[in-house]
């Protein structure tokens, strides 16, 4: 077994909001108790409702923000404030919106070379340029694109540029935060294919965030399902999709519309709404919407636990 590129243990991130003259500051628990590891060449997908903490996790893993609690080991080294700078090159991120994440006034060449200019200032300009051109070829951009501006590209091409830039420092782990959500179906498949090619060639590990379960099913080796800032299920792709254990995962899968009649399941209708992370209910956070909830669920929060396919539920499915 190869050593994981990243090991996260009990990561948490809390935000303090409000706290004006007359209001008490409140704590948003955007993420709590996230533990996982990813090996080279593997993809861990993170799914869950809007606001459940997926992007927060992405920011912690890419060392953009410091965790409130928990530890992170990247490439065998503990991520602490003094190692951050040296580890940052190993984890890079690609965002959802290919337009918003590129500097529109820079040419593609300059956009790709910027990470090198900042992180490897001693590298000669000619070598930087050679590396940028090599990367363009790798992601399927043409040599003449080197001098063009972002607005001259299609959405799919812009996402290729963003991926190319993220790869310039030869990271071991790429965090992909909704990388294809803004793209057309026909362009989505180009970008997903590119990601699969790059993963095979460079042995990259991916943390793949998406709300599209059919994309996740196609890309992932393992899946974490999150609810209200906490992982509630963690398993291999087949475990999660074929035999979901948490009722929330089951509801999510049943509500995903499909074009294949034989994949359609009886849809589970959830009552109520995702509670606010400012006001997390006591007990199991999913209990107010869960059709199986009992008194125990409303009183005591179930732990995720360990094992091959853990689920944070007092009454998991399949038992």
């Amino acid at each position: 077994m190869t050593a994981p590129v990243i090991i996260a243990e009990n990561l948490a991130r809390h935000y303090v909001v409000g706290g004006g003259l007359f209001s008490k500051p409140q704590v948003v628990k955007a993420l709590s108790e996230a533990s996982f590891s990813i090996e080279p060449g593997k993809t861990l997908a993170v799914v869950g409702e809007s606001g459940c903490g997926k992007s927060t996790l992405a920011r912690l893993v890419t060392l953009i923000e410091e965790p409130t609690a928990g530890t992170l080991r990247i490439d065998g080294k503990a991520a602490t404030p003094d190692t951050w700078a040296s580890l940052r090159a190993s984890v890079q991120i690609v965002f959802q919106d290919p337009y918003g994440s590129l500097n529109l006034r820079h040419r593609i060449g300059a956009i790709l070379e910027e990470p090198l200019r900042i992180n490897r200032p001693q590298m000669p300009a000619a070598e930087r340029q050679a590396k940028a051109r090599e990367m363009m070829a790798l992601v399927g951009l043409r040599p003449e694109h080197y001098d063009r501006f972002p607005h001259m590209f299609s959405g799919g091409q812009r996402q290729r540029i963003a991926i190319a830039r993220a790869l310039m420092l030869e990271p071991k782990l790429l965090v992909l935060d909704e990388p294809v959500s803004a793209l057309d179906l026909s362009i989505q498949s180009q970008v997903l294919n590119l990601l699969m090619d790059l993963q095979e060639r460079l042995d990259l590990a991916y943390l793949f965030i998406s709300h599209d379960l059919s994309v996740v099913r196609h890309m992932a080796d393992e899946v974490i399902v999150m609810y209200l800032g906490r992982p509630v299920e963690y398993g291999t792709r087949d475990q999660v999709f074929e035999a979901p254990r948490h009722p929330y995962t089951k509801a999510l899968l049943s509500a995903t519309p499909t074009t294949e009649p034989h994949l359609r399941r009886e849809r589970i209708k959830l009552e109520g709404e995702l509670p606010s992370p400012l006001n997390v209910p006591e007990g199991c956070p999913f209990a107010p919407r869960c059709w199986k909830a009992q008194d125990l669920c409303r009183q005591t929060r179930p732990e995720l636990g360990d094992g091959a396919h853990p689920a944070a539920c007092h009454f998991p499915e399949g038992h």
Binding site: S154, L185, S186, H211, H218, L252, A255, P257, T259
Partner: protein, 325 residues
């Protein structure tokens, strides 16, 4: 008689770089109780054709059509006053960007009640009650409290539901929903789609659904219309479209669905949609089409018969197997 009938609709924008044809000869028919989905590449004119019908395009747009009628009345001939009466009451639209379509200066309660005041004969208390009922209908918790919220105090998904509540306020006979569920997660999306189907069954409301989500199309629509580069390239009942698409573009689009993939690498469509300057002389899809022959590059494609899904194609696909290649 069809509820909505549009024939040969074209929209041309005057741009700094010359005229740009965003919609090119589109036909569209909707009967009472119909659920029609419109799908197609981003920029293929789906939103613009609907906005043209509602009279909501800027002055730079030139609209031409052989027919545009709602309930037997020519929409183009309506006076501004009559048009306002029809639009918003009989014909309502949920816009693609919910955030920018709500007025940030007024509470959502005010905005819903205002729609009710303009079109229905209700007193103040009745309007208040109906507004709460509508918010509840679209699954907004604690509706009384949310009536006094301003749009920026709601999440994306919540504003989208307020927009839906407003569109439903006057029980329209036709609802046009442009990407109504994109900011929602699948469990809430399912709830909204159920609500729309129920209304359609109970009141005979017709629904035009514009979406990129093929799963939503398959589970919600009765009929599907596919657009490419401003043209309608195919129209079929939903089962037929997913089983045997007749236009090579439709076939390629469906093949790109991850859930249909038979190999790890997904099928793609090479090339890009034609732009303002490189519009082909023949079939608009020819430069990207695996089946294109000489005639496709030189001559505009004919529209095939209904048995071939009205495919705008010289060589329509006829076998399901052919479609998945």
């Amino acid at each position: 008689m069809a509820l909505l009938s549009i024939r040969n609709l074209s929209v041309e924008f005057a741009t700094a770089a010359g005229p740009f044809r965003a919609v090119d000869g589109v036909d569209l028919t909707v009967d009472q109780g119909d659920v029609l989905a419109i799908v197609g590449e981003s920029g293929s004119g789906k939103s613009v054709s609907m906005l043209a019908m509602m009279g909501l395009l800027p002055w730079t747009a030139t609209i031409t059509a052989d027919e545009m009628s709602f309930d037997g009345r020519d929409i183009r001939r309506l006076s501004a006053r009559e048009r306002r009466k029809v639009i918003g009451r009989d014909m309502a639209m949920i816009f693609q960007e919910p955030m920018s379509s709500l007025n940030p200066c007024f509470t959502v309660g005010f905005q819903i009640k205002e729609a009710l005041r303009q079109h229905l004969n209700l007193d103040r208390a009745q309007r208040h009650a109906r507004a709460i009922e509508l918010m509840d209908l679209v699954g907004i918790p604690a509706p009384e409290k949310r009536l006094s919220a301003f749009p920026h105090q709601l999440s994306g998904g919540m504003s989208q539901r307020v927009m839906i509540a407003m569109a439903l306020a006057c029980k329209p006979r036709l609802l046009i929903a442009d990407e109504p569920t994109t900011a929602l997660d699948v469990t809430i999306q399912a709830q909204i789609l159920d609500l729309l189907s129920d209304l359609q069954k109970e009141t005979g409301m017709a629904l035009i659904l514009i979406t990129h989500d093929m799963g939503v199309v398959a589970e919600t629509a009765q009929r599907v219309q596919v657009q490419y580069a401003g043209q309608k390239v195919e129209e079929q009942p939903v089962e037929g479209l997913f089983a045997t698409p007749h236009h090579p573009y439709t076939a390629a689009l469906l093949a790109a669905l991850p859930e249909r993939a038979t190999t790890r690498r997904l099928p793609t469509i090479p090339g890009v949609v034609p732009g303002q300057y490189d519009r082909p002389a023949g079939c608009l899809f020819a430069p990207r089409c695996a089946k294109a022959t000489e005639i496709c590059h030189s001559t505009r494609a004919p529209v095939q018969g209904a048995e071939l899904g009205l495919a705008r194609c010289h060589h329509p696909v006829t076998q399901p197997e052919e479609a998945t290649q």
